[in-house]
């Protein structure tokens, strides 16, 4: 139809940038973990990838946002995060799952999942030597024995059940 050219309702297009990336920026696998596992692993990613992250932020700071200039540094950040997630999945899959499923039930509030977090932190420290450390605070809240606000989640009983299963497995 001739008139179709002038009828704006018939112009369909996709929200894709047609410009190719330059060749010196390598391909990278995107992080496949969803929000709860990412939140659960965030402090370990921070612990391992600190130099890459700081490099990236410095680049952004120096290049006025650095949308194009910092792609290389950004890819390093992505690769580092992927490596941490791979390690956690390899060595602490069960603890990881216990923690992020609790987070998913509890509106992603870390304070309501301290029991499973303790298990995860221990496993990750034993296997990967990564430690959760909250920067810029007086007290590391996740190490406090009896915090006032603990939530009312099923986390305690589920963690106890998990521990019992684990011990039973270790015996067999």
């Amino acid at each position: 139809m001739v008139l179709g050219e002038y009828f704006i309702g018939r112009h369909n297009w996709e929200n894709v940038d047609k410009n190719k990336l330059s060749d010196d920026i390598p391909e990278v696998d995107e992080v496949g973990a969803t929000s709860a596992p990412l939140l659960s692993a965030s402090y370990f990613i921070g612990a391992k990838c600190k130099p890459y992250n700081e490099d990236f932020m410095l680049c952004k700071d120096e290049n006025n946002g650095g949308t194009v200039e910092c792609l290389k540094e950004g890819r390093r950040v992505t690769r580092c995060a992927v490596s941490v997630l791979k390690d956690i999945n390899k060595y602490c899959f069960d603890e990881f799952k216990l923690h992020y499923e609790c987070l998913e039930q509890e509106n992603h509030r870390l304070g309501h999942c301290r029991h499973s977090e303790k298990l995860l932190n221990k496993c990750v420290f034993d296997n990967l030597k990564l430690e959760k450390k909250i920067p810029g605070v007086q007290e590391q809240i996740h190490l406090k024995e009896n915090p006032i606000f603990q939530g009312s989640s099923q986390d305690k009983s589920k963690s106890a059940e998990f521990l019992k299963l684990k011990e039973a497995e270790a015996k067999n």
Binding site: M1, E14, L85
Partner: protein, 110 residues
């Protein structure tokens, strides 16, 4: 003076039905979230992450701990875009009229 139980029957009925409505709605919401509790107090970041979760898993409230995203995630954000016009559904091209059965009489409104 003890109250005869007949006087309390309406209250029992009211409690039962309000309870049924509330717990029933709660149960349906819990089921609809994939046996998870509701999210609340969400900010823009949370909404964005939940959209990303949906693109990754294809399920509402789905979670996965895979380190590397599946292949389709690279293109899953692509949408067909169009300018808004009040006549958007009125002027079909002839091919589309044929396809939807306006011409042949075999209507398909799906």
């Amino acid at each position: 003076m003890p109250v005869p139980f007949e006087g309390l029957l309406p209250y029992a009925i009211m409690t039962a039905f309000f309870g049924l409505a509330g717990h029933g709605t709660g149960f349906i919401r819990y089921w609809d979230n994939g046996w998870k509790n509701d999210r609340f107090n969400l900010d823009a970041w949370d909404e964005k992450m939940m959209e990303r979760d949906f693109l990754l898993t294809g399920v509402k409230r789905g979670q996965s701990s895979d380190p590397i995203a599946p292949e389709h995630f690279k293109t899953s954000h692509i949408q067909l875009q169009r300018y808004w016009t009040p006549y958007r559904d009125q002027y079909f091209i002839f091919r589309e009229r044929l396809y939807r059965g306006y011409v042949t009489g075999e209507w398909d409104f799906s």
